[in-house]
Symmetry: C2
Subunit: 346 residues, 2 copies
């Protein structure tokens, strides 16, 4: 079959690879109906050292179950399913607490670590009963793009808002106008926030952010951006800052914006290890730090009904679509910010 | 009157200073009945550069109201009162949310910033209506030492447990066997925690920690300490780690001990600014970071009844007492760990 491989920074290829098969009794084989390129794929696309053993790409997909192992009990051939970006058994203590991204099963983990990727024609899914969730629509449903966001970006934006404690009493700033940032806006609105400041400088994206619920847009960054958000909030800053970028400068921007006693919730993968947390940053005013890889599996049941009944339309983050062969161009367009998020239809 | 002044590291003197007076209509003048030396006083005692203008010391006291300004409405001469370690108006939006240490009033702040200190015969208290809390006991009550802990160390231990989300479902580790650490144990037990690991190496202190509710004591630090706590908790670590020291090594120890999805709650004043917060430390497993200067004013009404009825006896952290003249020796004894916490009876 055809699959997407990254050989190094800027070097993504769609190549022939061996067809995946069910190899463990808990596996499923899924024929992919829709997948996509993630903003987080752009980190290695920008910086990966060239290597002989390329990495299989893609951690968001919807597909049709084509085969199952002997121990798979909740799925059948022909089921349409969505996969979270992390494999989990949905049964260990962490999964039961809703922290599927910290699943204790030895075969749990992120796609890529499994040797498989979703930007392909098909995929072997480990721990299929725990990982996959059935979708109650037909494979040609117009809802597929929105349902695909359940695999990562919608659940990730929702996680930012949940771990930030967003509700109707909190004012919120979202840093970043990528797909996750925009869906963090949508999630914050959905959880009741009435004042949502979106920090981003790409007009088409921030316009979508406004459609999702942003009440204010601040294109400025750094000190100027901080000052503008403070001006919008009577000098106080916002109770919650959803940091959806992952750079240290975005973290520092969040520190400048968060209200005393507030929360900085991070879902952008940190591209730094050390950062200010002492008396002059977090400690003095009891600022809390939250977030991490979203346990999107825990949120699918809650979020899916709102997609099915049209309350939310997160699939609007897809502004381009391509078959497999167009994936290298899709990476380029996303890196160049010509595309917000590219849908893949194998 | 006599008051305590710090001139530099290791140089604490009790000297004659001008008598304090009511200078603003919101002030009160309080004759001090009991105060004490704080673990946090040992940071400047260990490192302060010598200076010409010494710093007034002491931020925990109980005393009798001797005079009040014309706008003070809730206090009368003769009232016995306890003062939190931060001055606040108890009226601004932050105070109303229970975050008195971030009070927005321009005259709010920590003692010392006020030019006053509690290790003295008397003290001028700004924003007296907001700051002081009346005590329903006589000045010679045997409960005074326990009630004095409401001014800082009990409320600080309680704050660690509250911001850590301690309840009957959480396992807890407390790092540090100083007065705050020991009272964090007491607070965690009071909030329902059934498994409390105390990390400390001073037998007399950890014995008091056991009396306060610690179920396990781990004297080892660093990697060895982390391993021992993990062994005690089935490899998982504890849901909450209350970091009551303030060093970067204590922070890193907390990272090693906290369970996936758990909380590191800090109340020891950080002696560092940057620390690990990235994918390899907090982010990967959704570890949250919480804590800061405790808004002890917010907790006094909740905690005082348990002292009055004998349910808790936090005053047991005082293992020495001295009149004013013994304060320099008291600092030395606490720095040398001969005393846990020194009570001052002017």
């Amino acid at each position: 079959m055809r699959a997407t491989l990254m050989y190094g920074a800027g070097d993504v290829r769609v190549e022939n690879v061996p067809d995946p098969v069910v190899s463990l009794p808990t596996d499923a084989l899924v024929r992919i109906a829709a997948s996509c390129i993630c903003g987080s794929d752009l980190w290695p696309y920008g910086s990966m050292q060239p290597q002989d053993r390329p990495v299989r790409m893609g951690h968001e997909f919807i597909g049709i179950v084509e085969d199952i192992g002997s121990e798979v009990t909740t799925l059948r051939r022909g089921d349409l399913v969505v996969a979270p970006f992390a494999v989990s058994d949905n049964a260990c203590p962490f999964c039961r607490e809703g922290l599927h991204t910290s699943c204790a099963h030895p075969r749990a983990g992120f796609w890529g670590g499994t040797g498989e990727g979703g930007q392909a024609e098909a995929i072997r899914v480990p721990l299929a009963d725990g990982t996959l969730v059935k979708l109650p629509v037909a494979p040609d449903s117009a809802l597929l793009p929105s349902l695909l966001t359940l695999s990562d970006v919608l659940g990730t934006g929702h996680h930012a808002a949940v771990t930030g404690g967003v509700d109707e009493r909190t004012r919120v700033t979202v840093i970043g106008d990528g797909a996750v940032g925009l869906l963090a806006v949508l999630a914050a609105r959905r959880l009741g926030a009435e004042r949502i400041v979106l920090m981003g400088r790409h007009r088409a994206r921030t316009d979508l952010g406004r459609a999702f619920g942003a009440t204010d847009v601040v294109p400025a960054r750094g000190g100027e951006g901080i000052e503008q958000v403070r001006e919008l909030t009577g000098g106080e800053g916002t109770h919650v800052v959803l940091e959806c970028v992952g750079t240290r400068s975005a973290y520092e921007q969040a520190l400048g914006i968060v209200r005393r006693g507030g929360v900085v919730s991070r879902v952008g993968i940190p591209q730094y290890e050390d950062a200010p947390v002492g008396f002059g940053s977090l400690f003095r005013h009891n600022i809390r730090l939250a977030g991490g890889p979203a346990p999107v599996r825990a949120y699918i049941e809650e979020l899916m009904p709102d997609i099915l009944d049209g309350t939310i339309e997160p699939g609007r983050v897809f502004d381009a679509a391509t078959p497999l062969d167009g994936i290298p161009a899709g990476y380029r367009d996303m890196a160049d910010r010509k595309s917000l998020k590219v849908l893949i239809r194998p």
